[in-house]
Every structure is written in C-alpha cells, then in structure tokens.
C-alpha cells in the first residue's frame, strides 16, 4: 500500500528564472517537480527556486549537503571544486555521446559510482535531463589550422578551457550577461555557450558569424538532480520510485525536446541569419583530442577517486565506441 505521509521539499537551481530547459519547459526541473506532484497524488510537493531566489547559483551543493534545502538542479561538473571526479557525471571533452553516456550511467556502473562518491558527502544524485550534443561555439573569424588558435581570446569555462589553453587559447571567464557585448565588440574572439536554441536566445549570432558545430568539448551534458541523502533515505520505497521514474522521464523528454528545437533553430540561423555552420577542421580536432587525452590522464593520476571514475568511463567508452561504429555511425553516415 502507498504511504500516506506527505513531504514538502525545496529545490534550488543553478540556472536563472525563466531559462528554457534548465528551469522550465518539457523535461526541465520545474516539469520534474510537477510530474512528481501528479505521480504521487500530491504527497510530494517540491517548491522550485531559480538561481538567486533563495541562494546564489553555485551554492546548491553545499546547501543540499548541509540539509538547508532538500534538492538542487544543476550539473555535476559545477562541483569539481569539491569533488574533482564529478566532472565525469556531466561530460568530459571527447567523452561519450548522449546514448553512450546514458548507457554508462544506467547500465555501465556510472550511477553506482556516482552514488558511492556522493554518499561520503551525505548526498545522492540522479540524471534529470540532457542537452544532447553541444556546439564548439561562435567565432568572429574562421579557423583553418591549429595556429589560428594561438592568442585567440575565447569565453570557455571548465575543462574544455584548460584543453584549449594548451593550444595557445586565452580562456576568458565572463558572466553570462557579458558574453554578448564582449563578443560583439571583439573583447573576445570566440565564445562557447550551449547549442543553437539557447545560443540564438542569447543573440550570439548577431555578434559572430562562424558557428563551429559538433561540440567535442561537451558531446553530451547531463542535468543533475541532487538530493540530501537523509531525506532520500527517509522516503518510503514507492515515493523513491516516483522520484527516480520522474527523473528518468525528464532525461528522455528534455533530450528529445532539445533535438527538436535545435534542429529548427539551426535551420533558422543558417537560412535567415547568414550564420556559417560547420564542424571544426580535422587537423584542429585531432590536436585537441591528443591534448584532451593527456589532460584527462593527468587529472586521473592526481586524484584516486577521479582515477577510478576515469577508468570505468574510459573502459565503457571503448566498448560502446566499437558498438556505435557498427550501429549508429554507418547509419548517420547516410545523411
């Protein structure tokens, strides 16, 4: 029999109010809260707060760990400052596609590792969304060779920024609102954000015309549902099942929504806005790939937990790559 106990939770979010996908829309965190409410017949009420409403964007991890709020929506790689291994639960450069990532998380030991590592901090996490493949970004000038990267000023945070910097790029940290004016005026030469739908919303196509596509830096991007472990353990089994099912439903829904709106947005950008969309030249990609391998190896060697996750991730990646080479890849090559 279902438990009749009701629960009122607060969920904070690392993204600002109104943001499609990250806050609202199909498969978004607000949609998750609604789904849970309906599925539980009103026994679980989650009140959602966008970034800044209760706490600043990047404070979700600490707030959930301290039990100040029960849940948070973000990306695990935002917590790389507390747990370096968390990077792998969102994406790593040249990592896996969304299909591969989901396979690793749900059936390749990824989720177990995630739980094991977070348990030490009194936390548990589940995937709750996915942007699909992101884009390399917007460039004011076309790129032809690795040399064009030297001295290039690019807004690119995180691990990808580190990889680029090895090839002479100057990674610039800018808050979201200043990306557009900076790119438009040429303070920076290039900027990475998300994908066609989100980038068009920011107006980046009005600041730079060259849109390099397939985002080797973020080939997939998992939204993290973070829950305080004590809160989770206190939930009856049926309510836990509801939360898990709603989160998994959001992964599928948000991902398929992104695929649909990105397709439209890309067509619009190319046909109506004069954007030149193309993948990076192969010579640049292969250099980036080499540097990424070194960077990841170094990271894995520096921290045992990261090493452990890296090993699991890479072993699965290898296995999945040979399968994908025979399944998805020939099919996609048809287009």
């Amino acid at each position: 029999a279902a438990s009749q106990e009701t629960f009122n939770f607060k969920m904070t979010n690392a993204y600002p109010p109104g943001a499609p996908f990250y806050v609202q829309g199909p498969g978004s965190p607000m949609d998750f809260c609604e789904k849970v409410k309906v599925m539980s017949g009103g026994r679980i009420n989650i009140q959602h707060f966008a970034a800044g409403e209760l706490i600043p964007a990047m404070e979700g991890f600490n707030a959930v760990a301290a039990g100040t709020v029960e849940m948070n929506a973000a990306n695990a790689y935002f917590w790389a400052g507390q747990i370096p291994a968390a990077q792998y639960f969102t994406t790593v450069p040249f990592g896996m596609s969304t299909q591969g990532m989901n396979a690793w998380l749900y059936h390749g030991g990824g989720l177990e590792l995630w739980h094991e590592i977070y348990a030490e901090h009194g936390l548990i996490a589940f995937p709750m969304g996915n942007t699909g493949v992101q884009m390399t970004g917007w460039f004011r000038e076309p790129l032809e060779s690795v040399d064009d990267l030297k001295g290039l000023k690019m807004r690119i945070p995180g691990l990808a920024g580190k990889v680029y910097s090895e090839l002479g790029v100057n990674p610039v940290l800018l808050p979201g609102g200043e990306i557009f004016p900076a790119l438009e005026r040429g303070v920076i030469d290039a900027a990475e954000f998300v994908g066609p739908y989100q980038d068009r919303r920011l107006g980046l196509h009005k600041a730079a015309k060259y849109y390099y596509t397939t985002g080797w830096g973020e080939p997939t991007n998992v939204t993290e549902l973070l829950i305080n472990k004590n809160v989770w353990d206190s939930l009856p089994a049926d309510q836990q099942a509801i939360i898990k099912a709603a989160a998994a439903a959001c992964v599928t829904e948000s991902f398929s929504w992104c695929e649909a709106v990105n397709a439209d947005a890309m067509t619009d950008l190319v046909e109506n806005e004069g954007v030149i969309a193309q993948p990076l030249p192969a010579s640049i990609v292969s250099r980036l790939q080499e540097v990424t391998a070194d960077t990841l190896e170094t990271m894995a060697a520096a921290d045992p937990l990261t090493g452990k996750v890296h090993k699991s991730f890479m072993e699965f990646r290898k296995k999945h790559a040979s399968w994908a080479a025979l399944s998805e890849k020939p099919f996609l090559n048809l287009f």
Binding site: G18, I55, A63, T68, G177, P181, V187, G203
Partner: protein, 441 residues
C-alpha cells in the same frame, strides 16, 4: 489577513520606524528582517543566509563599485572634477542650471559604462555635489539631479536590470540593450528640459556663475580653461566607454580603465603622491563598504519577505484583478512601483515577473517593450522616497549639512518626470522597438 501577512506589514513598519529615528539603514533592514523572519518560521530559513551573503560579496558585476568609486574619489581629491564643473558653468554663460546640465551629461556617460546604480550615484555625487553647493545651488535641486542622473545607468546599456530581464523574458541581451537606448536618452532629455525650465522659474535655486566672475575670464582664457579642465574627465570617458566600444574590455572590467586613468590624470597634473593615494583608498573603502553594507543587510529582509509568503500575497492580489491586457499592465506597473518602496530590484523581478509573464505572453504583448517598461519602472523605484536606494547612496557621500529631507524633496520631481517618461513609452512603443529592428539586433 493571515498572521504572516501581519508580520510582513510589521516588518516593513519596523524598518521604516527604525530608519526614521536614525538607526543606520543597513542595520534597520537586517533587524526587521531577522525579527519578522524568526517569528514567522523560526531559524530554518536563516541557514540560507551565509550563502546569500557570499553571493553578494562574490558578485562579479559588483566589482564595478570599488573601481568606479576609486575613479571618483581620485578625481575629487585631485580637484579635477571641481575645475571641470566650474569651467563648464562659466562656458554655459548666463544659463541658469548650466552645471546641472553638465551633471546629467556625466550621468549619461557614466551610465553608458556601467549598470550599477550604487557606483554611478556615489561617483557622480562625490564629484559634483560639493561644487554645486558652493555655487549656491539649492541642496534639494542638486541632490535630485544627481540621484536622477546617477540612476540613468539602470536603463542606458549596459545595464544589470536588462541583463536579468533578458533571461526572464527570453529576449537576447543585445535586443534589450538596443531597445533601451532611445528611452534612456528620452529620459535624459526630459531631465534637461526640466532643469532649463526650473532655471527660468526659480533662478535662485540654480544660479549661473555671476556675470562679474565670468567677465574676468576672456574668451581666449575660457577656451584654454575648457581644454585644461574638461579634457581630463573626457579622457576618462574615452578610457571607459572607449575600452568597451573598442573591444578592449567587457563592461565590468572597463571601470578599471577609469580608475587607472584617474591615477594617470593625477600624475599628469603632478598631484600624485602617496598621501593622495592613501586618502583615495580610504574614501573608496568607506564608500564601497557603505554600499555593500546595505546590499548585505537587505538579504535577511528579502529572505524574510519571501519566507513569510510575500510573493503569495502579491499573487492573491493579482488573482483579484479585472481582466484585459491594459488592466494587467497597469497593475504590473503599480505593483512594481509599490514593491520598489521596500524591496531590492532583483527580488522584485524574481517575485513579480515570472508570475506575470505567462499572462502577457497569452495576450501577445511585445516582450521587448514590456521589458523596457519594467526597467523604467524599477529605475523609478530607486528614486522614490523613503526607500529609494539611490537616495541612501547619495546620503552616504553627501557633505555635512545636506539632510535626508533635501534628498527626498529633490528626488520627488524626478520621480514624476520618470512617470511621464513611462507614459510616453506606453503611448509610443516604437521609441522602444525601432532601434533593435533598425540595427538588426
């Protein structure tokens, strides 16, 4: 009304009461927030407090506060600002309010380089208020002009309000920046017209530089003075705005070019020495911390407002509203104005906008136009006594003898002018929508 609603009213009343008897504004905010919040829901919500405070003191865009204040204090200490205003006043000849016009120009230029009200009001106030008073301007007129000019930066791009709104309404930052440009200038023009008219009616409130004194300087000398006194501050404008437009610096960092430029000017005038720098650092530290003191202590207040269900209260009011797009718009404008009496604009945006936007999307309201109306309205709340933040910030840098009453009285006409500007935009949406379409942003 529920118990919590009484608590909200008590909290606002308590804040007002403490503030009025002379308890520091920041402390009044924090105490009323803590007490009402504690009575309403116990200690729980205050566990969020450290993260909120951390968010304030690590907010990248607030870096513009110390940087701009440093520029302002340097200019003040090296007497560059004073000379500039005097010379402009002389160049304006017999026009009453000439120096006031210069201040509006300074406000526009500073507004075009930052979007932080605290930074602009404080800097403009620091630079110009002493000179205006010395030249016999009525304190209230001087204070009102400075507060109004200083808040122009809210609407003239780049603007923090517009950046936040762009996220909430889903329009690009560039579109909103372009849309706000003409309304910002319209507002400045309205201010200028007001000062010119006031100068005609009440010349004693804003006297021109006396004719005898003007006669002492020949045309040639005046031209030389202009070159000597107006060029350095113009150089700073070029340093700050030029570095943004020229692609050297992003908006927030550009403030550092102004700060560096002010050091360079002091050096060029042979006034740079360790004593001057030390004084400038002292001034920058006290003024910046004054701004942060208020921002930090506003956190318990807004957290309590939300925790006590202040947003629900607003929601209920909205549900009682008669239908229609116009009705909803008018209600939104009135609500923003009223909330602006006691809440910070970020909090207002979070509470009111997400709730209203779906309604306007259904009506098919132009979101760009709506955003600019909202931004203008929020800007107005900065100026509105008794809680307008621009007024507090100016009080923080005003010389002895300038009272809160002067600032309040001076700001009121500008609130009315702002209101007029909102009405103009309401009637002529093309003032907002034309530029973004014309330049394709």
């Amino acid at each position: 009304m529920s118990g919590n609603e009484w608590l909200i009213i008590g909290m606002i009343g308590g804040f007002l009461g403490m503030m009025m008897i002379g308890i520091p504004v920041a402390i009044s905010l924090a105490v009323s927030g803590f007490v009402a919040g504690y009575l309403g829901f116990g200690p729980m919500l205050f566990n969020l407090m450290p993260a909120r405070l951390y968010g304030v003191v690590t907010n990248y865009t607030l870096m513009a506060v110390p940087l701009f204040v440093f520029m302002g204090v340097m200019l003040e200490k090296s007497r560059v600002a004073e000379n500039m205003l005097e010379t402009i006043g002389k160049a304006m000849g017999g026009v009453n309010g000439g120096m006031g016009l210069a201040i509006i120009l300074v406000g526009v230029l500073m507004g075009a380089s930052t979007g932080i009200v605290g930074a602009t009001v404080v800097t403009v106030g620091l630079l110009t208020l002493p000179s205006l008073l010395r030249r016999g301007y009525a304190p209230s007129v001087a204070c009102g002009t400075i507060c109004a000019s200083g808040t122009l930066g809210q609407i003239i791009p780049p603007s923090l309000v517009l950046i936040l709104l762009s996220d909430i309404v889903g329009e690009s930052v560039g579109t909103l920046f372009a849309a706000a440009f003409i309304p910002g200038l319209v507002l400045a023009v309205i201010y200028v017209a007001y000062l010119l008219i006031l100068g005609k009616i009440k010349p004693e409130w804003m006297p021109a530089i006396p004719a005898e004194e003007r006669a002492e300087v020949t045309g040639k000398q005046l031209a030389k003075d202009l070159l000597r006194d107006v060029c350095p501050p113009l150089f700073l404008v070029v340093a700050v705005l030029g570095s943004i437009v020229g692609g050297v610096a992003a908006p927030t960092e550009a403030a550092s070019m102004g700060a560096l430029g002010a050091l360079a000017i002091a050096l060029a005038f042979k006034r740079l020495n360790w004593k001057l720098v030390k004084e400038a650092l002292h001034g920058t530290l006290t003024i910046s911390a004054m701004v942060f003191f208020i921002l930090l202590c506003a956190q318990p207040f807004s957290l309590a407002f939300r925790g006590l269900g202040g947003d629900q209260m607003v929601h209920h009011m909205f549900e009682m509203l008669p239908g229609g797009e116009l009705g909803a718009l008018l209600f939104l404008m009135a609500l923003l104005f009223v909330l602006g009496f006691f809440l910070e604009w970020i909090e207002i945006s979070y509470i009111a906008l997400p709730m209203f936007l779906p309604v306007f999307m259904n009506y098919g309201t132009d979101m760009v136009w709506l955003s600019i109306l909202v931004a203008m309205n929020l800007q107005m709340s900065f100026l509105t006594p008794p809680f307008g933040w621009a007024l507090f910030f100016l009080k923080g840098v005003a010389p002895p003898g300038v009272t809160t009453r002067d600032i309040y009285v001076g700001a009121l006409p500008f609130v009315l002018l702002q209101f007029a500007a909102v009405v103009v935009l309401f009637q002529f949406p093309s003032l907002v929508t034309w530029l973004p379409e014309a330049i394709g942003w």
